[in-house]
Symmetry: C2
Subunit: 635 residues, 2 copies
């Protein structure tokens, strides 16, 4: 159980093994039943069937505003021979039917005269009468056991005379962060330290699942200390989540600790991210399920969904909450390791009248891939991935109509798009602009394949020295429009004070220099290659040319961290990190789209925004941008 290498138990087997281990250890099947007033029961799960205590409505009542009559008094009334009823009573909707009367005539159909009420039609008995018990009959089954209560449910219970409900109490989840390097949120970090964001997230996930969550202090990497913390937490919790230490490194004690505190059913599940999970129990009175949660944040989040949520729902005797899903077409090939359930985060967008799923970065450490995801796609263990264009089922993390209202931008990254996304949302909460950064060329290909509305591009053609348009001609052909977003300064991002005294591209061949490059297909990479070619410089002579980052900000971050001396990028990125900047070129950054989409209502707010002087002023204030041609159609 404490083997250095964790196993690869298929998810279904892992669930079953943990269930058996919980039963064998004597973990309770359900949390206790409590009785609560109906007003406090929303979100809780019924612990017993709810039978109506009385009927609702509790009396026959008028279903209309009008008069209560005896149906027999109206016999023979018609348009040509009205009947005047003298014995009646005025009633409003909801009023009890006065004794002696058995029908109601709508006010609109009553002509009041000096003699009484003139009716032009006979009415049948019980017309417009709301019967006793129309909604609820006393003694009927109102709700089954195991039902999570919603506002309408508690209102119906109250109407049926049920003022208190037997429900399961909220399960309690104890969360124990571990690790010498883990610091509480808000700490100033020293090198090598990381913030305890997992406890924050897992506690919030537990609360969203209707549970009470308690987070302990961070426990150091010491088996005895962790065991003590685990035993203490298990005393008062229905599930203990022990964060990190579930891998097989030197300081990874979780499996050992859980084994000594109780039992380990599974160490290592064929699920990615989330592989080194530990499923076990801790002894006690009663025993408590323990979940060893991997420390990578995406692994932690998915481990909650896959392993904690079903157990917590089971403790309440309810079905786990489920996410809605949709089918989508896969934007590109999606390889997946055979034998592993692979949970892939995807962006979704509706373009060309279909929902398209674009996989996001798959690293277990990339929490922003989950933040930006619109959905989760499970590639099951038995499947070795999908071809581009395959139809796949995606669990939704955002509503489908919100996704349908999203402007999908794929291509080069630029801060102006981020600024536009925020400004659009501020003006109208229903608009989303989502950009995926795959470089200029990737954006044009995505547009060609119908995966996006707009592609941001600043791609220099070495043959002509012209930007973007030659590529549009070659790749996309007719029916394509190009709108100028901005002109922007590209240059060498350097440490404050430019310690190496770089003056331009010619200096990049300095032997001790550490360059950080952009990925192939990025416009900035094309610009560098063009500039090198103009000068006859062999790219392989530039130290670090092979090291690639995917955004301007990542290049600036590398320089800021001292991991590289320089990289080509935009002024705004240098400014964001308080770095210095050696200008190299000014380039146009354009938005490429289908001509048809120029009249697409979805995009109209974007064109409107680009034309606004206050937005242009905000862009130029970023530094290194010119809005002289912003919004101009250049093709």
């Amino acid at each position: 159980m404490n083997s250095p290498f964790v196993s690869d138990v298929p998810a279904a087997e892992a669930h079953a093994a943990w269930r058996e281990a919980r039963a064998a250890a004597g973990c309770p099947a359900r949390v206790e039943t409590i009785r609560v007033p109906v007003g406090e029961a929303v979100g809780r799960v019924t612990a017993a069937p709810v039978w109506a205590q009385r009927s609702s409505p509790a009396f026959d009542s008028s279903a209309m505003d009008g008069i209560a009559v005896r149906a027999s008094d109206t016999v023979g009334a018609s348009e040509t021979s009205p009947v005047v009823v003298t014995d009646f009573e005025v009633v409003d909707t909801g009023d009890p039917l006065p004794p002696g009367y058995d029908a109601v005539v709508m006010r609109e159909h009553v002509h009041r005269t000096a003699e009484g009420a003139e009716l032009h039609a006979a009415v049948p008995p019980y017309q417009h009468v709301r019967s006793i018990g129309e909604d609820i009959s006393a003694a009927e089954l109102l709700l089954p056991q195991g039902h999570r209560l919603r506002p309408v449910d508690v209102a119906a219970c109250a109407a049926a005379g049920v003022v208190e409900l037997a429900v399961r109490r909220a399960p309690v989840v104890a969360i124990i962060p571990t690790g010498d390097e883990i610091r509480p949120i808000g700490s100033e970090l020293r090198p090598g330290e990381i913030l305890d964001t997992n406890s924050l997230m897992l506690a919030a996930q537990a609360r969203e699942a209707g549970c009470e969550a308690r987070v302990t202090d961070v426990v150091v990497d010491d088996p005895d200390a962790i065991t003590t913390a685990l035993r203490a937490a298990a005393e008062n919790a229905d599930l203990v989540m022990l964060i990190a230490g579930s891998s097989a490194g030197r300081d990874d004690y979780t499996a050992r600790v859980v084994a000594s505190a109780g039992s380990v059913a599974v160490h290592g599940v064929a699920v990615r991210p989330g592989h080194p999970v530990v499923l076990g129990t801790a002894k006690g009175d009663p025993a408590t399920p323990v979940l060893g949660v991997p420390g990578y944040p995406v692994s932690a989040a998915l481990t909650f969904d896959i392993f904690a949520a079903p157990v917590l729902a089971e403790l309440e005797g309810a079905a786990p909450r489920e996410r809605p899903s949709t089918t989508a077409r896969l934007a590109r090939k999606l390889p997946s390791a055979f034998g592993m359930d692979d949970w892939v985060r995807v962006r979704l967008g509706r373009a060309q009248d279909q929902v398209v799923a674009t996989p996001l970065p798959r690293g277990a450490g990339v929490l922003t891939s989950l933040v930006r995801a619109d959905g989760l796609l499970l590639v099951p263990a038995g499947v070795e991935g999908h071809h581009a264009g395959s139809e796949v089922r995606v669990e939704l993390l955002r509503g489908l109509s919100e996704i349908n209202r999203t402007i999908v931008a794929i291509g080069s990254h630029d801060l102006v798009l981020d600024l536009a996304a925020s400004a659009l949302r501020a003006a109208d909460p229903l608009i989303t602009l989502a950009s995926s950064n795959v470089g200029s060329l990737g954006g044009l290909v995505a547009l060609r394949d119908g995966l996006c509305h707009i592609a941001g591009s600043h791609l220099l053609d070495p043959a002509t020295g012209e930007y973007t348009l030659p590529y549009v001609d070659k790749l996309l052909g007719d029916g394509i429009a190009v709108i100028r977003l901005v002109h922007r300064d590209q240059g060498l991002i350097v440490a404050p004070g430019n310690p190496l005294g770089l003056k331009g591209i010619d200096d990049l061949t300095q032997p001790d220099l550490r360059y950080v490059n952009r990925q192939r297909g990025a416009g900035t990479r094309a610009l560098l290659d063009y500039e090198l070619n103009q000068r006859g410089i062999d790219p392989t002579t530039i130290p670090g040319y092979a090291r690639e980052e995917h955004t301007h900000l990542a290049v600036a971050a590398a320089v800021a961290a001292g991991r590289a001396d320089t990289g080509l990028g935009i002024l705004a990125a240098a400014r964001a990190f308080n770095l210095d900047f050696v200008p190299v070129a000014q380039e146009p950054y354009d938005l490429v789209l289908r001509t048809d989409d120029l009249s697409n209502d979805l995009l109209a707010p974007l064109w409107d925004l680009l034309s606004r002087p206050e937005f242009q002023a905000e862009v130029e204030a970023l530094g290194g941008y010119s809005c002289a041609e912003t919004g101009r159609r250049v093709r």
Copy 2:
């Protein structure tokens, strides 16, 4: 604005008119911005874009357990000529990359020897190194404005060094119940009084929407008192919901009160249920939106969804939460009034591999129709209903996989099915048995049309005196199995002590007797007709023969309320209301299903339950049931 008849403004126009009125009156566009620690921000909406304050990870780190090396030291290593590296450092996943090293070799690929670490493959620089900023680059846009924060979002904010967030405070909803007949939950009711279940429900709906809800005391039907309460509530609320009084009856003051406190933009919307809604504002500093909510409970619940929820989301600057939806085939014809948005509650079930939607009772007073609904179907104002079998879009109120796991029973009502539903759920929270009561004949037709798994039937064939099987032959033909559920006693349900001294069917022709009948197609109705026919009694001679109720319990409720003297029904219904019972016949109640479904895994737990002695004992304890043949296949 205070006309006696409310208008029929189309929903979209009503929304627009109210929006204009709110702006004109000076209602705030957004609630205030507050700053909260990330740990308390889940569920709130960002009031400003969130930019990363620092990169995450903040340092280069090992992505694997293994050793940190210099890539240049490994050049030339291969399976046939391993290289022994002497300068390395052992690292675990997440450890900072030690200075001087630029790559990591997985532990599995390292062979430790006396000399050092033997490698069988060269490694490229930065192999298995997790780069600084891999997840988040400082200064990147993490979240746009107007984003409702989820657990992953706050974790990402914390990782990016953002410990406090600018969010919109929770909107405050004030709820004012009005009406002389309204009593607080838990009150003992006198005739004509009703419980204030609407406040309970609306407050819970508001809290579910992320708002703070305050309910005032019930206000009597007095315009001055209501005006005073409205003005006071508006002082400290972002939206006031004034319940009932929005129709046009004598005591319906809402429109008048709102007009005097501010302005009425709309009185009456072309939406059903929910038609007599009032949309207005109340003067103040600032002015407050006011929503007059109709008193019928389904109207009240839908008014919240349709009118309150969008305004509350707008106040937070976010998109309203949206329900997932699915397409379904309509089980039967659905007429709808032209010119009215018609919100129809439907049950959903998967039978014959398609999702089928069966409309539930449409009365605005039938709250249980919303409790039992799996979905909401909007028939828009411009559509006059749908044909049976039409494909319709349904907003889901329950998860689709839960719906897929539901045993759908349509047919005659019997308490044993309710009991079975609860027992199945208690044993396994993932199983649902949903029964719709449409009478025996309706059930057989539903089974024929592929709308259900099982049809409960006790339908007597007058020609043969045999139950159910002749109808199965006639209607359904081959491929149908029939399983006996129970035998049960049918008889006359009478007031305690049997005041009219009824002895059997022959006594039903007593001139002053008030009979309450079951609907056509109900097995109990067929039984009555059979018994009358046997005796040569003309049904029209029975007073009340034309008055129909749809369940045994409704018949018993009518007798218990003194609204009828007797009706034919089962002993269990009489017992539920403490009534007396005059036995008339013992009849078999059967479950009819497709032979194919006998081996359907979904139904297996039901057959298992029926075979259990403890379940049979529970059934017989209800009284009037015999389980002698329970579970026997009779066809």
